[in-house]
Symmetry: D2
Subunit: 348 residues, 4 copies
Amino acid sequence: MLVVMKAQATPEEIQAVCDHIVQLGFRPHPLPGAQRTAIGITGNQGEVDRGNLESLSGVAEVIRVSKPYKLASRDVKEEDTVIRFAGSSATIGARDLAVVAGPCSIESRDQALAIAEQVAAAGARFFRGGAYKPRTSPYAFQGLGLDALKVMSEIREKFGLRIITEALDSDTLDLVAEWADVVQIGARNMQNFSLLKKAGRLRKPVLLKRGLSATLEEFLMAAEYVMSEGNYEVILCERGVRTFSDHARNTLDLSIVPALQRVSHLPLLVDPSHGTGRRDSVLPMARAAVAAGADGVMVEVHNHPESALSDGPQSIYPEQFASMMVELEQLAPIVGRTLPRAVSAAVQ
Amino acid sequence: MLVVMKAQATPEEIQAVCDHIVQLGFRPHPLPGAQRTAIGITGNQGEVDRGNLESLSGVAEVIRVSKPYKLASRDVKEEDTVIRFAGSSATIGARDLAVVAGPCSIESRDQALAIAEQVAAAGARFFRGGAYKPRTSPYAFQGLGLDALKVMSEIREKFGLRIITEALDSDTLDLVAEWADVVQIGARNMQNFSLLKKAGRLRKPVLLKRGLSATLEEFLMAAEYVMSEGNYEVILCERGVRTFSDHARNTLDLSIVPALQRVSHLPLLVDPSHGTGRRDSVLPMARAAVAAGADGVMVEVHNHPESALSDGPQSIYPEQFASMMVELEQLAPIVGRTLPRAVSAAVQ
Amino acid sequence: MLVVMKAQATPEEIQAVCDHIVQLGFRPHPLPGAQRTAIGITGNQGEVDRGNLESLSGVAEVIRVSKPYKLASRDVKEEDTVIRFAGSSATIGARDLAVVAGPCSIESRDQALAIAEQVAAAGARFFRGGAYKPRTSPYAFQGLGLDALKVMSEIREKFGLRIITEALDSDTLDLVAEWADVVQIGARNMQNFSLLKKAGRLRKPVLLKRGLSATLEEFLMAAEYVMSEGNYEVILCERGVRTFSDHARNTLDLSIVPALQRVSHLPLLVDPSHGTGRRDSVLPMARAAVAAGADGVMVEVHNHPESALSDGPQSIYPEQFASMMVELEQLAPIVGRTLPRAVSAAVQ
Amino acid sequence: MLVVMKAQATPEEIQAVCDHIVQLGFRPHPLPGAQRTAIGITGNQGEVDRGNLESLSGVAEVIRVSKPYKLASRDVKEEDTVIRFAGSSATIGARDLAVVAGPCSIESRDQALAIAEQVAAAGARFFRGGAYKPRTSPYAFQGLGLDALKVMSEIREKFGLRIITEALDSDTLDLVAEWADVVQIGARNMQNFSLLKKAGRLRKPVLLKRGLSATLEEFLMAAEYVMSEGNYEVILCERGVRTFSDHARNTLDLSIVPALQRVSHLPLLVDPSHGTGRRDSVLPMARAAVAAGADGVMVEVHNHPESALSDGPQSIYPEQFASMMVELEQLAPIVGRTLPRAVSAAVQ
């Protein structure tokens, strides 16, 4: 259910409607728009009686949201969600393409800084690097943990890059949220509902990767879990799904880009590194993602991929990353985008 | 790596080998067999030097385990693992077929007791019921939590049934382990590695459901996560995978039964309720699962499925459950099994 | 559309209704049942006007068939279709389980006769063997063609087995139909609509294998193509579908057995050899197929599978086949079936 | 096996090698390249003895081709294959992007000409339209057949467009080849090996669509079937595969574009209409296909899609097609391509 306020509704009227919703045993989600505020109503105690709500002061109309996802839906919020970062002009979901780059895992301070310097010089605004790694085998390298978080914090200071890194579980969620700018929830955790709810109580944007066999609706329902707890800054990320097709590690499902954009206002990145698992497919698929309308890409870059502790075969070289940036910059205007590549202060 | 001890090796010799492994920075997993003890070695610090180990007293040979899963592999433990329960003749993985039955969710004490009485009367030895429910929507019924656990505890007392219920996250894991006999890890959590590791520190058997797009190897690697922490009582459960095929909710992959049994010693149940999502497919698929060689089945039974709070369409009626038991009892000897259906004391 | 005749309708009345349907530009399909005859109406020229039909003599009612498949549907024919063979008590779709066995390809007269003798002795009533082979590579063994058909004809004479073999294309369809008792349409040809229509003009039963990515509805629509041309003797065969799951060659979708039986009257076999691609999975899956309610199984048997020209790894040994027959005989009564294993005359 | 001739080998030497290969019971495939001629050797009678071949005059070396596909492989022919058409500057596989457009089915002369005029005006060089339609239901519209072929012939004359249309079976193959410029083999026929072989005897290019569950290797093996019969002009076409993902009709597998280009020299188009099944996904996916490196796109265009006899929901409007052409023209140089949109003579 969605309460649409009149354009001239006052903050007091909005507050009164929220209070009333709380009294009814539901949760209000005020969502300010360019023209007027809408208030989403969620809760699992059954139907809201719309009669009373419609009679409240400042209310324009009360709308039933037919989709199972409410807050993630364009029915509830028509305008694209844009994620902004204090003290930075970097955005996700705006006209500027967002490019996230970095190694699969932070393996050492030297490695991470070397890569960060190169991707920053090529124009990346976001740095990714695994501190806590979800590994199929309990005997594989599990990440450097807090040390990696600290290295990435240094990278933010030095190169002005915003940091995106994965939180594996509730134990490390707060720590990751403390050090990172965006908290990633990985594909294997896309339906870890407890973790999603906890991420919903953070005050940091959440990058949510699509599960290996998640439908579009399940993907948005996972975002809804985060949003239902009050965190509306969710970034979706397509990273390939699992099918019979064996020429690539996963099947990158690019046609979900226009499909998601039709029904949701959330920003959407594409990860062609995990999406293909092959270095020589990353550039073509990064171009394809932007051409399809994605808000940006997330790629693995490594200066010595042949000796990487994880995901070497899908990591591109820094030079390839620089080429990719040139290509995406050319591509951007065709899809109504820009790719600002102002070199960061520290590198100049 | 696996250290096979001589048949006549003493407990002291076994302990000495374990101590030596710890000194090397690895973890020893002593696995007693019918003939002799084997000691699995795990850890992610690289290769073990086998020379020293082979020269220790009581050691027969040191074997490299080629599969990525070690402790879950038949290479490490040839004999089938059997799960036993103190104070009960019920087993999982032995000659007796294990039958787990109960509602998707515990909805009320009355509902749960009524169903428990009926499934016990029909010969079930295990009761399942959701206390904490993983739901696609944050707005759907999430389970009764601790109250449900208490109801199931009462069911154990009253009907002598062993209780299997899902732990959704680390917050509730200990609580579930305290009240239940077997802790279930759901399909969506199959690669929630933190949860798996914590379940590995429990001293309760863990029932691990196959993920919706998990390969056989990933399934066993998830079991390996639990076992690598010292909990060797893992029960595997096939519950259908996600494919293009749309005549059923999932595609029940029964041919994984012989495939798993070839490579792993862990017991394996099949869940035809989630595996098909259709009441009228549950009995045929339960028979098929046993005919394929599964160690038992796990089915959803509800006395009023049409008004169930979750999974109504796939829940069978108590009378259907009773028919299923008769059929499985007839089927059992053909696959070298028995289905003991001694009516529980409380019902007599 | 379906015209249901009254129980006492005369042959003349039935003929008059058929004539009327032809006049309207449609095709009548008289389908005699135990109680009364129904007449299916097909054609792609639009809607039939039911008013006139209902007023014809002998007509009980005219029913709209809501499913896209008409003649294959239980709405049109409630009773199970049974395929019978002149001069043989072998059936497909009746109470007796149908067992089809033989090598993937006929490689030589000696090989084929040796295998045929063994499977006949173990109780098979049907013999399968490839004369024309659909091979992924143009450079692979393509079958012995007419010579193979002649060898199988000899096998029919000698061992009383009914012959099932694949017709690859319209060029060889008539030839195969001339020599075989059942014409197989392979999985790769399941939507070769021209071939299906031509098979619909044969007067021999057609065994139709499910395509590797066919839904239940597409499978029945393929059967409908054959039936729409007047050949109502279609045998369905589940042989595994293509999914991400890699522990077997295909994913045997056994839950399609009850799903198909709910909506269609056509008999249904299961092929656990192609369904799994692994010798040691064939017996468990053959048992599972029968336990799920299939009308029989189709298995590859080879006396020297290690040197087979095709599909060696999935072919079972004659001794395994004999064991399978013993197991299926025991299983049959549990699912209301029998497995007559009278040794064929020639072998006695 | 591949015989690489010396750069200065004479036609007589090449012929002598071919004759020798025929004598050995194999088939020679002379493939002229920019530098020198290679001769592929195919046949299914076993191994070729390379010793004799290497001693023949003009032979540089004899190479074993390790891939199962030989003639389709870059090992055998390194340079991209380009398809050219007599009397037209249109190409497939060269620097120019190839754009194929037209309705799913030819429904009437008026409809087809109206659409052809519009797509020609927007710059398409190729026209597609179904004359013989593969339909899931035997009761659905099956195409206008020869009449449709004649209409398309008129379109070629009038608008200078090259015609691509599907041949459903061997009965109509010669007819289609007579009237069309490119013969399409549909996805459902991708492993109709008899049809592929017959298409291999045509002297017209063949557009081969990927099957719904075909792997990359199977796709190339299907092309190999055509090529093994001597027709080397095969155009591959990705059109989406079947997966669990339900937001689109199929899952367009764009990452097969770089994967195929790595291993094969054959040109590759992408069909975003069948690939997505949704009109509003066609433009984004057409852009993505070109950005990924495809040699062109094939799209369904209809002037009245709401009343189309087939595939209306995925057909774009002529105005959308014109926009697409503008976007692809802008995109082309970024991937080293051009999109010549010279308006055809007849339209001027």
